[in-house]
Amino acid sequence: MVKRLEAEVWSQNNCAGCGLCVAVCSKQVLRWDGEDHPVLEKRPKVVGFTKGNLDSCSFCQKFCEEACPRLERWSPLETQATLSVKARGPVKSGAPNDIIRAILTAGRSAGLIDGVAMLDLDPWTLEPLARIATTVEDIVDTVGPQYLWAPVFDVLNEAVFRWKMENLAVVGAPCASEAIRKLRDSTNPRLKPYQSSLRLRISIFCTGMYQPELVDEVLIRRMGLHRDQIKRLEVSPDRKWLHAVLWDGSKHSIPRQLAEEYTRPGCATCNDYLGDSADLAVGTLGAPEGASTLIVRSQAGDVFARNAIQMNLLETGPAVDQEALTASRQEKGRRAAAQDLMDLKLLMLDALADPLQHNEAVRQFIRLYRTPARVNEPDRPQNGCTGC
């Protein structure tokens, strides 16, 4: 039932927007409807003699709960290797999306995967969307994730059931990898098809995905560009700028800080910047000029990285600046604080419903706010107070 998601994720504005709950919903009653989170649909249905709104959600085996990455706190997977890499072959580049394309191309050529579900941009409308790429040509044609939000698992059912893909790679934000991790932990046999076909998780480094309205608001209204003038959007390698590349070759740039104002609300409490749950995480942080950082976190990731290097599509470079990566790990604390506060609200609500939780909630509140007078004002005279 979606109840837990409603109470703990959606109402807290904490939805990651990965879309896995929508994909795995057994009753197909979750859908996207312009909100920051999926909405539950109640369908009119004839049950016996009545024609009421049937809450089919209440019959389910909680697939959405077993897929939602935001119901869990994730500890990072152990890092196996950290490399600085550049794409070789036809595209010589150090941009993260080119690295991802190189790894996927190599993996597809070697038959390690039979398809990829990835975040992409529609070349005509610049709408972010999820796309399935099945051939090497498809993979080369994509532009890859551009930090514009779309639910990446939108195409999961198509890939798993329609195209019967058995070795599927997913490219998305770190939350998508967390979602797969959560899915794999499930013991529900009905989720088996997904578990067995999702083989590889690739994440980009991410501090927040932007709402697609960014394109309308900033590029079209503010910079006076038209959609059909824009060839593609890209994030500069140092992530300082968001570039709109026009068909005439010129480039318009927006500072990333401006784009950050359009960050999804659900990203405010996420502290997974480096794809901590992915097999492979790619980003520019810590990498030397003109290269990207590739973090390998699992056996599967290792196989894919080696494969790409063997096929000469990837080359490794000088060492990665570990300090930058460590520094970013330290910044986790700030967003962990946000998670604590969010949990506190749930705890307080719990305590109101269940008096047994009362002391815990009060303790936690005092710890987080460090403030109530009750603990801080020992000099209050207790003796003469007649009011009590």
Partner: protein
């Protein structure tokens, strides 16, 4: 590494703060219900006040002098004056504080009169307890109060005028004549192009020439505003001219766009030689004195009929333009018969220019005919057919010229400026001045100004009047040299900010921007000159990295604590209610109820908020957890928030909280938000009574 567990909310309380409490006898008025000496005993017993005194008239000269001496001799840091009508006497005590060497923020007058009005005859003991609780809430607040540091900013004496039509040209010229450097940008390829052709095109052309050759005006055509940063008095503007980007620094920005007449449009064929829009006819009238028409028109019909969509604030412009043109046509072609068909003539202000024009039109022999809305005039091939309600007959007016209205659109530039400057737009896309009622002509407190057709289509003399007022304001602002801000503005704790951007979205004034810093996360930065101190960001921040001095979490929590501390005598039987009252509505209404002696039920504790935007659901939950039976938020009615839309934010937050409580199986009726006006005592008592009776039916914290 930062410890994520610690939320170092400002130090709890200044340990050595010496509190003084002055209890006012209000000249014996209150003594029927309240014994001030009993109250002073209670205060001494229940709080850590260092000095408690009863004073007959603290607002009188003698009383003021005694308080002054007490502050000096007792070394008091904070003073609570418990008496009446803080709004009336607040300023008086603030002056006293400054005279005695305290900051204004360290003295507070509160109203305890309403405590005397509890419905049950609880006797003086209960009344004293209630009053003592009010005093201890205020002491909890004062103990954490911080003075507001005034900020001084220099002002750069130069201005940017966006829009090179009549409004912009006049403003730019008069600012430049006053000795200020002016940048004039126009999106079109030449100055003085758009808008309704004025009655004197020659004068406009002369104005354009004057602007072009003025030493202090830099005029740029084909130029757009591309970006704006900084603060009032010191903006950094990026102007894009083709592929060139020019950066300038100016003290003020004047948006002087004009409205664009739409080209002629008709669903049926008409003879465009004879049917013209007002704009086209204006050009004809202008050219006639130069090149007289071969065949002067003999029958001229003005049609003031337009759809509701075309009306959109322009009806006045249509009417007045038609009147002027009718008068002018009679002057030029004395033999012509001029008819004006109207349904409603909007003439603007009473006894203004518009009415003079109407009288003049009548005098010059323009015939005015009012048609019925159900039967608007129709242009046929030979005649204009209209139903005359006076005779009850259809009339066919022959015409050589039929002049129809030309609806106005915003300049396309308006959209861009609205986004860059953060100005809202109406349905037609014209810019809305959100504070038009309070301070016309200003968008922000100062620094950005709107005028002319930027708001709505306007006629010439209105534009000129506006240009004059705005010019005067801009001059006054820019000549100050420096200006001071002394309101509490939001502060960011850099150690906790996660750069998520929630505050930038919550801020109604767009005063918060994200700036880069070394590591991966950005940092929010508040522009103090734009911040109005509503506190919306403080609540929106998921890590409590924002703070608003004077309305900090610790102060509000301490007040909640103080209000729940002592269960008060007979009032124990009543539900305990925490009321968060916006200073401008809830708090004001409660004070007024006290002053007027209106009684209401319940065991209320008022906690003052600067704006309902500062309402934090965490505080409500905390209050409920600590034994409050209900939490009531009183906010200004929709559209009347002093800070823009704090009440809307509060309503959404309250709705979300209620929804969540419902999901957790808690009865959501123990939290409530009500809209109330500051002087609406009846509604205040009504709301409180309703809430109390609802709570008595269903005690809080009870699972459904």
């Amino acid at each position: 590494m930062i410890d994520p567990m610690l939320f170092p909310v400002a130090p709890p309380m200044i340990p050595q703060a010496r509190m003084g409490v002055i209890i006012c006898r209000c000249g014996g008025k209150m003594e029927e219900a309240l014994d001030p000496y009993l109250l002073s005993e209670r205060v001494r017993a229940c709080s850590n006040a260092s000095y408690v005194a009863v004073e007959a008239f603290p607002c009188g000269k003698g009383g003021q002098e005694r308080i002054h001496r007490a502050i000096q001799s007792e070394g008091l840091d904070r003073v609570v004056v418990a008496g009446c009508a803080p709004r009336l006497v607040g300023a008086l005590f603030q002056r006293l504080a400054v005279r005695s060497g305290l900051d204004e923020a360290y003295i507070q007058a509160i109203d305890i009169r309403e405590s005397c009005l509890i419905p049950e005859p609880g006797g003086p003991a209960v009344v004293a307890d209630l009053a003592a609780r009010k005093i201890s809430i205020e002491m909890a607040r004062l103990g954490r109060a911080k003075p507001v540091e005034p900020l001084t900013y220099p002002i750069r004496p130069s201005a940017l005028v966006a829009g090179g039509n009549l409004a912009g040209l006049v403003t730019a010229t008069s600012l430049a004549n006053a000795g200020l450097p002016v940048y004039l940008i126009e999106a079109a390829s030449a100055l003085g192009q758009a808008g309704m052709p004025s009655q004197s095109m020659a004068a406009l052309a002369a104005l354009v020439e004057a602007v072009k050759h003025h030493g202090r005006i830099t005029s740029l055509t084909n130029a757009h505003l591309d970006g704006l940063s900084g603060r009032p008095g010191d903006y950094r503007v990026q102007i894009r001219q083709g592929n060139r980007v020019i950066e300038e620094q100016v003290g003020a920005v004047v948006v002087a766009l004009d409205a664009h007449p739409r080209p002629f449009h008709s669903n049926q064929w008409v003879d465009r030689e004879r049917v013209r829009t007002q704009v086209e006819f204006a050009i004809e009238l202008e050219t006639v004195p130069l090149v007289p028409a071969l065949i002067p028109p003999r029958h001229i019909v003005f049609l003031l009929s337009f759809t509701e969509a075309e009306r959109g604030g322009s009806a006045r412009v249509y009417s007045r333009t038609a009147l002027r043109q009718a008068i002018r046509a009679r002057e030029l072609w004395p033999g012509a018969q001029v008819t004006l068909l109207y349904q409603d003539l909007e003439l603007g202000e009473k006894f203004g220019e518009g009415e003079n024009e109407l009288m003049q039109a009548r005098a010059t022999g323009v015939s005015l005919l009012r048609y019925q809305p159900a039967r608007p005039p129709v242009i046929r091939e030979k005649t204009v057919d209209v139903f005359d309600p006076h005779t009850g007959e259809e009339r066919a007016l022959a015409y050589d010229r039929a002049v129809v209205v030309a609806p106005f659109d915003r300049e396309p530039e308006a959209d861009r400026l609205a986004t860059i400057l953060g100005i809202p737009q109406d349905a037609q896309g014209f810019l809305i001045d959100p504070r038009r009622r309070l301070r016309p002509g200003r968008v922000t407190d100062d620094g950005i100004y709107l005028l002319g057709g930027a708001h709505k289509p306007q006629v010439e003399d209105e534009i000129l009047l506006q240009a004059a007022t705005v010019t005067a304001r801009v001059k006054r602002f820019l000549r100050q040299g420096a200006f001071q801000v002394k309101i509490a503005t939001a502060r960011v704790d850099a150690n906790r900010c996660t750069g998520c951007g929630d505050c930038t979205r919550a801020c109604p004034e767009s005063a918060i921007r994200l700036v880069p810093r070394e590591s991966v996360l950005s940092l929010s930065q508040v522009e103090p000159t734009r911040c109005t101190g509503c506190g919306a960001c403080v609540v929106a921040c998921p890590v409590r990295a924002m703070g608003l001095p004077g309305w900090e979490d610790d102060s509000l929590l301490a007040q909640i604590e103080a209000s729940l501390q002592a269960p008060v005598g007979i009032a124990q039987r009543q539900p305990r209610i925490i009321v968060f009252g916006c200073e401008w509505s809830g708090q004001a209404a409660a004070e007024l109820a006290g002053v007027r002696g209106v009684s209401y039920p319940g065991n209320l504790s008022m906690i003052r908020l600067n704006c309902s935007a500062r309402f934090d659901p965490y505080h409500a939950l905390w209050a409920l957890l600590n034994g409050a039976d209900g939490v009531l938020m009183l906010a200004c009615p929709p559209g009347e928030c002093h800070y823009g839309h704090g009440n809307r934010l509060a309503r959404n937050r309250m709705a979300a909280l209620q929804q969540q409580m419902q999901e957790y199986g808690i009865d959501p009726s123990c939290v409530r938000l009500e809209f109330i006006q500051g002087d609406d005592i009846e509604k205040f008592t009504q709301v409180v009574a309703d809430f109390v009776s609802a709570l008595q039916k269903q005690p809080a914290g009870m699972a459904l």
